[in-house]
């Protein structure tokens, strides 16, 4: 999909109108869409074989393989397994896009290249992207990556293998189709499914073996249930998620916080009126001074 002038202007007009009279997006993104899908990663099951890293590259046609393993998410790595290790504890950890219920990247993207679409999957549209990389700054999980080393760089981030699981012609999920990483995992440490089913599954795992999972005050925690406004990728682990590289966010999404600040400034049209009022005042004073000099 390429964009013509008309669409661009339309988009700008809509964006402008949105800034003037904001639709309360926070309410729209308060909960996951009804048909939301996601993943559940259970760090206690992961054995660090990194099959998912290779499978992700295969599924997304990205360069690199197991024999030249990536160190971190990058312009050609959408999914990574890393290891936390200290004197007496260790755990593997998977990183990929969290598919936020209220995504910071989509909120920051001024041109709508990032969108939360069917099934709550956040996709990126190369034809819209202008390469500003605000998404990288806006993501609390540090996920979107920019291809610094290519002439025509892309933003690279996990899209839950949307091209595999989602049939664009019928608009439905393909029967039995799984994202690359979930196909590959030999231990079912990462599974794909309906968001609500995954939450049930995670709760059941906790109920069965509560001693296996970490949580504040000994209460096992599902990361992503409420963190940062909730994410469609959920995590279970036996270590503090902070050690595993996940930030401690409140129940409020960073996108919501950003919106509140921005919308707060423009509330009731006060800020533009005040700004133009001051400018007008300055001009009036300058004019008066000039006239006096002439006179």
């Amino acid at each position: 999909m390429s964009m013509d002038r008309r669409t661009l202007l339309k988009g700008l007009a809509v964006a402008g109108a949105g800034a003037v009279a904001p639709v309360e997006a926070s309410e729209k993104y308060a909960e996951a869409p009804e048909d939301a899908v996601g993943m559940l990663y259970d760090a206690t099951r992961c054995i660090g074989c990194q099959a998912c890293v290779t499978a992700c590259k295969t599924a997304n046609n990205l360069p690199g393989n197991r024999y030249n393993p990536p160190e971190d998410l990058s312009g050609d790595t959408k999914n990574i397994i890393r290891l936390y290790e200290d004197a007496d504890e260790s755990s593997y950890m998977k990183s990929q896009c969290m598919q936020c219920i209220d995504p910071g990247c989509a909120n920051a993207c001024m041109i709508g290249a990032f969108k939360k679409r069917e099934y709550g999957i956040i996709t990126w549209d190369p034809d819209r992207c202008i390469g500003c990389r605000y998404c990288q700054v806006a993501c609390p999980y540090n996920i979107p990556k920019f291809q610094w080393d290519t002439g025509v760089p892309l933003i690279v981030k996990c899209e839950l293998c949307n091209h595999i699981i989602h049939d664009p012609d019928t608009g439905t999920l393909r029967e039995g189709a799984l994202p690359g990483c979930c196909q590959a995992c030999p231990k079912e440490a990462v599974i794909f499914g309906k968001y609500t089913d995954l939450i049930e599954d995670a709760k059941q795992r906790i109920a069965e073996r509560p001693e296996n999972y970490w949580g504040p005050d000994g209460e096992p925690k599902i990361f992503g249930l409420t963190d940062g406004g909730g994410t469609q990728v959920l995590y279970l682990a036996d270590l503090n998620f902070e050690k595993l590289g996940l930030p401690t966010l409140g129940d409020e999404g960073t996108a919501k916080q950003a919106r509140e600040i921005q919308h707060g400034i423009y509330r009731g049209f006060i800020a533009p009126v005040a700004l133009y009022g001051v400018l007008g005042l300055v001009m009036w004073r300058n004019n008066r001074a000039a006239k006096k000099e002439e006179g």
């Binding site: 074989c49 099959a51 024999y67 393993p69 990536p70 290891l83 936390y84 540090n142």
Partner: protein, 367 residues
């Protein structure tokens, strides 16, 4: 065996009178090649055998299924006939002996008296109730092993039973079965675990001892490093499928038919130390569990085979996984800090503006 020998242009039976030196040396060289040793070693073996330096071997059977012997019977480089008639002097072996009763016991006695023999132990030794669960000629397995093994020049424990207890020692271990090393704590026992043990590993050890009088380098569990130094996983022909994340999920599924990695079905290759993946059994290509599509059972490794459930996933050996650095995390960006940075930037911009204005004024004045 006959057919295979025909392919290799070898006489069907080397014990015939028609065997010349050339054929015999050829067999020894083939045996050396099968073990990954240089051809010159084969020539040495042949020379040793010709000069009558055949080592005496006493083979003891205890709690076992004779599988290791059966496996050895089916080797062809060298064939068992060549091995026991030309290369070693098998003085006592309950499965292969024609004699019985007092006659065979006398042979055993004579061989022990002569000394300098290799004692091969097949099977675990029961220790409960003073070892009454396995007795031969009125003697318990403990007695026999302490007597024969104690005087041996070298003790080889063939199979998992003799190495560390194997099946007989599986929980609840009703007979208190243990490996040969526990009965002979002061002796160096060469363990060749496996169920069955690969006959070539056995032949390699025996022929090295017969030819050079030395024993192979051992690990801390008494296993020769040449055979048990690495895990099956390290050289598995299906390893590429593991690395690419292609796993068979159940017997007969698409991945299984395509020969994908069996790890997800509980293959113990990653924690099993043996050379099965590079040295298949009895010269038949792919004649080993993973080769025929069955997950490795971990038979050579104590605590894995006969201990862990067949379909339970194996523990992976340490592998390179990129670390999580605390510095990867974003620092806390508070509104206060944002304000400070904003003020600093504003001051810098304002300062620069003022400076440039002054510079401009200076230029106008100067011109």
């Amino acid at each position: 065996m006959g057919r295979r020998d025909e392919w290799l242009d070898l006489p069907a039976d080397l014990t015939d009178d028609g065997v010349d030196r050339r054929d015999f040396v050829k067999v020894c060289m083939l045996a050396a090649a099968a073990l990954g040793l240089p051809a010159a070693t084969g020539v040495k073996w042949a020379e040793a055998a010709e000069s009558g330096l055949k080592p005496s071997v006493i083979w003891l059977h205890f709690q076992e299924c004779t599988g290791c012997t059966e496996s050895l019977l089916r080797t062809s480089h060298p064939g068992l006939g060549t091995l026991i008639l030309d290369m070693i002097s098998l003085d006592y072996h309950e499965t292969l002996f024609a004699a019985a009763g007092h006659q065979i016991e006398k042979c055993l006695h004579d061989a022990v008296e002569a000394g300098g023999y290799i004692c091969v132990v097949e099977g675990a030794i029961p220790t409960k109730e003073d070892g009454i669960y396995c007795q031969i000629a009125g003697r318990t397995a403990i007695d026999i092993l302490q007597d024969v093994g104690g005087k041996a020049a070298a003790v080889i424990a063939i199979g998992s039973c003799a190495s560390w207890g194997g099946i007989p020692s599986a929980d609840p271990n009703p007979t208190g079965a243990v490996g040969a090393q526990e009965i002979l704590p002061d002796k160096t026992v060469i363990n060749l675990p496996g169920c069955p043990s690969n006959p070539y590993n056995f032949l390699g050890v025996v022929l090295q001892f017969a030819t050079m009088g030395t024993l192979p380098a051992l690990d801390d569990e008494g296993r020769p490093l040449f055979a048990y130094g690495r895990t099956i996983h390290e050289h598995c022909p299906r390893r590429a499928h593991f690395d690419a994340g292609r796993f068979a999920r159940q017997f007969g599924d698409e991945g299984h038919n395509l020969g994908y990695c069996l790890f997800a079905m509980g293959c113990k290759g990653p924690e099993t130390y043996a050379n099965c993946s590079t040295l298949h059994f009895n010269e038949v290509p792919d004649a080993w569990p993973i080769g025929i599509g069955a997950p490795c059972f971990g038979c050579t490794t104590k605590g894995v085979g006969f201990t862990k459930p067949l379909f339970q996933e194996a523990a992976l050996p340490p592998n390179y996984v990129p670390p999580i650095h605390p510095s990867d995390q974003r620092g806390p960006i508070t509104p206060g800090w944002a304000g400070v940075v904003g003020l600093a930037t504003g001051a810098a911009v304002g300062g620069a503006l003022m400076a440039s204005k002054k510079l401009g004024e200076g230029e106008t004045e100067g011109s």
